[in-house]
């Protein structure tokens, strides 16, 4: 019964995501009616050439990127909440985003110009910064005396604070890039193109796929390390795979979109309320909800002050926050 309910909910969420993405492509400085949108997406013979250009060159890659990033952040958030058995855990909890922020700030401040792996200079530095930070946090936490998830959490928080201090210092020291850095830190999808989708896609999918495969080990870890070990789970190896996969997904997401908060925190909570705590269903549901939320937030971010736009991170926190508080108040006992 529960299984079937979850399957139905997953299908409903998939259909909703497609509708939300379609709506997102319709809205903007030029409104495209549903019928025109469909023919533009299909490049039908009767499609308006301007619409085809708007849809294929501007809105489709942007919407796809928002959906992918939202899905990756939510999947990583669900994995971290399960790994740390902590409802406050989010994708940024082990320092990936602070590392990305420092990398990006350095690149912007010193005018880095070399890219690699398809990343431009700033995303490349952010990607590298995020991965390096996760690696350092992991090594410090796992080689310490009482290696546990708590040491990962603490090492991530401590290193995150250090890196944030460095970012602040750089911003004050080199005044000019202030606006550029700040808007990057708040996250957004303006001027994102197919290029960004192509660059991030393999990393995002690898990370999300690996996390989904780890669903059953995560279930075992919910019962505590002892219980998981007694089921024959090699705890350290499982932790390494989880941290590496989530770190990869978050690093790639942050590299192409900046630091977007909140989606990775609330999507897993809503998903858990819908399909339960078992990660085999929680992971895909979180990904679908995260994608939906971020596409909605991005649509809002680029239409509310049209033709200007605001960083999507402001929207996710400003709208996601009250929504989450409402859920917490009305269904708090089932969420936490």
């Amino acid at each position: 019964m529960r299984r079937h309910r979850a399957l139905v909910l997953l299908m409903v969420a998939s259909v909703l995501l497609v509708l939300v993405m379609a709506a997102s492509m319709g809205f903007g400085s030029v409104f495209i009616k549903p019928q025109a949108l469909v023919s533009a997406v299909l490049r039908a013979s009767d499609a308006d050439a301007v619409n085809v250009t708007i849809v294929w060159d501007l809105r489709l890659p942007r919407t796809l990127l928002a959906a992918l990033v939202g899905g990756a952040l939510a999947t990583a958030g669900a994995a971290f909440q399960g790994l740390f058995r902590n409802p406050l855990a989010d994708p940024h909890v082990i320092g990936a985003s602070s590392g990305a922020a420092l990398g990006a700030t350095l690149a912007i401040s010193f005018g880095a110009s070399a890219g690699a792996l398809g990343f431009g200079p700033v995303p490349l530095c952010a990607f590298a910064g995020a991965l390096a930070t996760v690696a350092i946090v992991y090594v410090i936490a796992e080689t310490g005396g009482g290696a546990s998830v708590a040491s990962l959490l603490l090492a991530g928080t401590a290193l995150g604070a250090m890196l944030s201090a460095m970012v602040s210092f750089l911003l004050i020291w080199r005044e000019q890039p202030w606006f550029h850095v700040f808007s990057w830190l708040l996250g957004g999808f303006s001027n994102r193109s197919w290029h960004h989708v192509q660059t991030a896609l393999p990393w995002l999918l690898t990370g999300m796929g690996a996390l989904w495969l780890m669903a059953r080990p995560l279930d075992a870890l919910l019962g505590g390390d002892d219980a998981a070990r007694s089921l024959g789970l090699p705890i350290r190896a499982a932790r390494l795979v989880l941290v590496a996969a989530a770190g990869l997904a978050v690093a790639a997401a942050v590299a192409v979109s900046g630091i977007i908060g909140f989606v990775g925190l609330i999507a897993p909570h809503i998903a858990r309320w819908l399909v339960g705590a078992g990660h085999a269903r929680l992971m895909p549901m979180s990904a679908l909800l995260g994608a939906m939320l971020l596409v909605l937030a991005d649509t809002f971010a680029r239409t509310i002050l049209s033709p200007g736009e605001i960083p999507v991170g402001i929207v996710t926190a400003a709208l996601g926050g009250p929504f989450f508080l409402y859920l917490l108040k009305t269904r708090g006992r089932r969420l936490a």
Binding site: M1, R2, Q81, R85, N86, P87, G145, L213, M214, R216, P217, D219, A220, L222, G223, G224, D226, A227, R229, S230, L231, G232, L233, P234, R272, G276, A277, G278, A336
Partner: protein, 267 residues
């Protein structure tokens, strides 16, 4: 006694030292666990009963000496291989804020057999159903762990251990949180699993009143080692227990079975 041939132990500790990192809790432990028998580990709070149980189950690496399961050392053995033979029901039930459903929790017991990535087979489902039926939790299948009472949650943990279809069952304080009805059910289940299904069972008990009801032999853990191993009537004696637990206990003879029953003595 010598005339009766004792079967080979399925699990044995030889000069075993156990503890955490550099902190040794127990040393020089020699212990044989026989199939079809129930062994109770008793001892004061903090004596190291759980530490010993976890080392016997391969959850903690031995600091010295060796644990051998079916003649093979647990050292360097793959955790999953160990979990196919030895199941441990931990003391703490579920520290998680977002618990699984009862079925999901019990299903995890198949992971040592099926692996972490393969879907469960029809046979796995049958084992899961049978384990749940055996613990009387079939009607709880769809409930989530956080909504269960302490005793119900404890039975879920036991059902998961049974779903591992182990040869050796290690139970850490299985009677905790159980009211007297379920204590009685638990004790008869433990005896059935050992005496009829042939499992080797090791359990820790802090309630000495239950020891003679379920155990075939008793090991007394105290002062950094095994103080004594023997039958129930050899270990449950005032002159053995008082040096360890203090003077405020007395050993009575059960009016029906004649077995020793240890009770606190109120002065």
């Amino acid at each position: 006694m010598k005339a009766e041939k004792t079967p080979d132990p399925i699990l044995e500790a030889r000069n075993l030292a156990c503890g955490y990192g550099k902190c040794e809790v127990l040393s020089g432990v020699n212990l044989d666990v026989q199939p079809g028998k129930v062994l109770a580990l008793i001892g004061p709070n903090g004596a190291g009963k759980t530490t010993l149980l976890h080392t016997l189950g391969g959850l903690l690496p031995a600091l010295g000496g060796d644990v051998r399961c079916e003649g093979v050392s647990l050292r360097g053995r793959h955790a999953r291989a160990t979990a196919r033979t030895i199941a441990l029901a931990p003391q703490r039930v579920t520290p998680s804020a977002w618990p699984l459903s009862v079925t999901e929790a019990v299903s995890l017991g198949r992971a040592p057999h099926r692996g972490w990535f393969m879907p469960l087979t029809h046979e796995d489902r049958q084992v899961i159903d049978a384990s749940m039926a055996r613990m009387g939790i079939t009607s709880l299948a769809g409930r989530v762990l956080s909504t269960l009472s302490g005793g119900e949650a404890r039975r879920v943990v036991l059902a998961r251990a049974l779903a591992q279809t182990p040869k050796i069952l290690l139970l850490d304080e299985p009677a905790t949180y159980l009211d007297i009805k379920y204590q009685a059910e638990l004790i008869s289940l433990v005896r059935t699993l050992a005496h009829e299904d042939g499992l080797a069972i090791v359990l820790t008990l802090h309630d000495l009143a239950l020891v003679s009801l379920c155990a075939d032999s008793v090991a007394l853990v105290a002062n950094g080692g095994l103080r004594m191993t023997g039958t129930v009537s050899e270990v449950l004696r005032e002159d053995v227990l008082r040096p360890v637990y203090g003077e405020n206990l007395e050993v009575l003879s059960h009016p029906k079975s004649g077995m020793p029953v240890v009770l606190p003595k109120i002065v």
